[in-house]
């Protein structure tokens, strides 16, 4: 290791000394220019967070005034927001919807992705194309008959119309998992087959342990999707079963003329915080997942 690192260090040293001063100055200027652009863009991206945060800490009368800095800091907003709207109920509904739909999607999509990638059967390719084509279907096309069905089942007003279907596979999840399952070497599966394992054993003992990162990524995607889902909740749930996404609208629609902007921002922060924490914990899995979606899609 050291014997390898040493000559490289020397060559860098030599190259650095051989750079003429004017070239070095130009490089420095270029680097400063690049960083200036990056910093300017970064400020643009951060500024909304900054304003949302400081407003969340203002008193109601100070929000939307010219004074910039919270005076006094109104930390009580974070408890007040629970009394102003049924924030606790909305939060619980959000956790229930996001949690159960994530379990449902992952559990039901894994076997399907396995059948579409590692089992050999006639019509597999056609079935896969059919799964992919459903991704193109706008949800508006199916939502009205689904609404009619769920009205007859007396499910409208609950979160069941949103949670139950997730237990029957999700095309996007199936697609991403299939792409990952295909990268697992055939020899590992053969070894399990020689040991007398059936398809079920191969799936649980070989594929799932190896595909943990991919499963994590799709679980994250589904969790975020249902955490954010607005249209589905708006259509199917009611005021008792709203999640935060729709519940936060209480602030702006009920009290239309005088919106308590400080509490709206406090509520928004509490709503986005779990997601941002999740992002920082799993940033790599996340960015790799997004990249995969774009490049393989």
């Amino acid at each position: 290791m050291t014997s390898e690192a040493h000559p490289r260090a020397v060559s860098v040293e030599i190259r650095r000394r051989s750079v003429p001063p004017d070239v070095r100055a130009r490089r420095l200027l270029l680097s400063i220019a690049n960083h200036s652009v990056a910093i300017a863009v970064a400020i643009m991206f951060i500024a909304p967070f900054f304003f949302i945060l400081i407003t969340a800490l203002m008193t109601r009368s100070q929000a939307l005034t010219k004074s910039f800095w919270p005076r006094p800091f109104s930390w009580g907003n974070f408890t007040q927001v629970f009394n102003y709207v049924p924030f606790g109920t909305y939060l619980r509904n959000t956790v229930v919807y996001a949690g159960l739909s994530t379990i449902g999607t992952v559990a039901s999509s894994i076997p399907v992705a396995y059948a579409l990638s590692r089992m050999i059967w006639r019509g597999r390719q056609a079935a896969f194309l059919l799964v992919l084509s459903t991704l193109m279907l706008p949800s508006q096309v199916t939502i009205i008959p689904l609404y009619v069905i769920f009205v007859h089942l007396h499910w409208v007003g609950s979160l069941k119309p949103l949670i139950v279907p997730t237990f029957f596979g999700d095309a996007f999840t199936i697609f991403l998992l299939r792409q990952f399952f295909l990268t697992i070497p055939e020899e590992l599966l053969d070894a399990a087959r020689v040991d007398g394992g059936g398809e079920f054993q191969i799936l649980t003992r070989v594929i799932i342990p190896l595909a943990k990162p991919a499963i994590m990524a799709v679980a994250l995607f589904q969790f975020l999707y249902s955490w954010n889902d607005f249209f589905g909740v708006l259509v199917f749930a009611n005021t008792h079963t709203y999640t935060l996404a729709v519940g936060l609208m209480d602030f702006v629609s009920v009290t239309h003329r005088s919106i308590p902007w400080n509490l709206v921002m406090t509520g928004s922060i509490l709503f986005m915080l779990p997601v941002l924490i999740l992002f920082f914990l799993a940033q790599r899995a996340f960015i790799e997942g997004v990249t995969l979606t774009g490049l393989k899609g």
Partner: protein, 290 residues
């Protein structure tokens, strides 16, 4: 065994996709208000839409606006931010995190945040006033409401940016070195090397942007305050999906809403087909596959 593994999807496909698709096609030829069974109405819904429904045309115009202006600006900004990231060495990871973070903010929270930021008495206009610049009324004015939504979209450009970043980093270095030897300038290199190499990602983003743009709903719903004020100010935020939602779930015109949904579906399919057809003229696939 295969059937057992495929079972969840097969059941889901039949119950939540196949049946609803054909049911909504059927409803689209009926009058249906949920209380009485659907009544056959032939092409009435479709004829009414084109001939008598001025809100339909308004929503079509607004939706086309957001697709035609929103999508290219979004993609352009994604490329600019991704290129910015490739040009810094130190701190690239931190910049990437900052650029990406707004994407994680739930749409409703982001829309509420922008509704506040762009309030005529809010921080942005206060700053503009201090700088003696014009202070638009943003979401409160019919001219500025849609551009404001585009701005909101740019804040969440992160996921598109990340895909472009991956594509930019994938471009073989030798190509740029060869261009350097030929004496090509920065713009020439971008146009003749970078752009063709990332064209598959541009294509993907255009397709996704167009599909998403036609279904644009949540942001417009939130900033117009929902409920009765949907589509305000002055109908400038009445998008196609907004009108479909109002017809279906506020007025329970299930037949008419189904007709709107099917027209949307057909238009999205046609646009996607056109994009795919014309893609071989401008999308360059490395190695010539596909």
């Amino acid at each position: 065994m295969v059937l057992l593994f495929m079972a969840p999807w097969i059941i889901g496909f039949l119950a939540f996709i196949m049946y609803p698709m054909f049911a909504s096609l059927y409803y689209s030829f009926t009058k249906y208000n949920l209380l009485q069974p659907p009544q056959w109405a032939g092409l009435f819904n479709y004829r009414y839409m084109f001939a008598h429904d001025s809100n339909f045309w308004l929503s079509v115009r607004n939706t086309i606006w957001i697709v035609v202006f929103g999508t290219p600006i979004q993609i352009l900004f994604a490329i600019v931010t991704a290129v910015t990231l490739t040009r810094v060495r130190r701190g690239a990871g931190a910049y990437r995190t900052i650029f990406f973070m707004p994407t994680m903010v739930p749409t409703v929270a982001a829309a509420l945040g922008f509704l506040f930021l762009l309030d005529p008495a809010g921080p942005i206009d206060t700053i503009l006033r201090l700088l003696h610049l014009p202070q638009p009324l943003w979401f409160s004015s019919a001219q500025w409401a849609k551009p404001s939504l585009v701005g909101l979209g740019l804040w969440g450009v992160g996921d598109t940016m990340i895909i472009f970043l991956a594509a930019l980093l994938d471009v073989p270095k030798q190509l740029y070195e060869a261009a350097d030897i030929e004496g090509a300038g920065a713009w020439r290199k971008f146009r003749s090397i970078t752009l063709p190499m990332i064209s598959p990602v541009i294509f993907f983003s255009v397709v996704m942007g167009v599909i998403g743009g036609f279904q644009y709903f949540t942001e417009a719903y939130v900033v117009s305050g929902g409920g009765q004020s949907l589509g305000e100010p002055q109908g400038s935020l009445l998008f196609y999906s907004t009108w479909l939602y109002q017809q279906g779930f506020q007025y329970t015109n299930m037949g008419y809403a189904s007709a709107l949904a099917w027209l949307l579906f057909v238009v999205v399919m046609i646009c996607t087909a056109i994009l795919i057809r014309t893609s071989n003229r401008w999308v360059f696939y490395q190695g010539g596959f596909r």
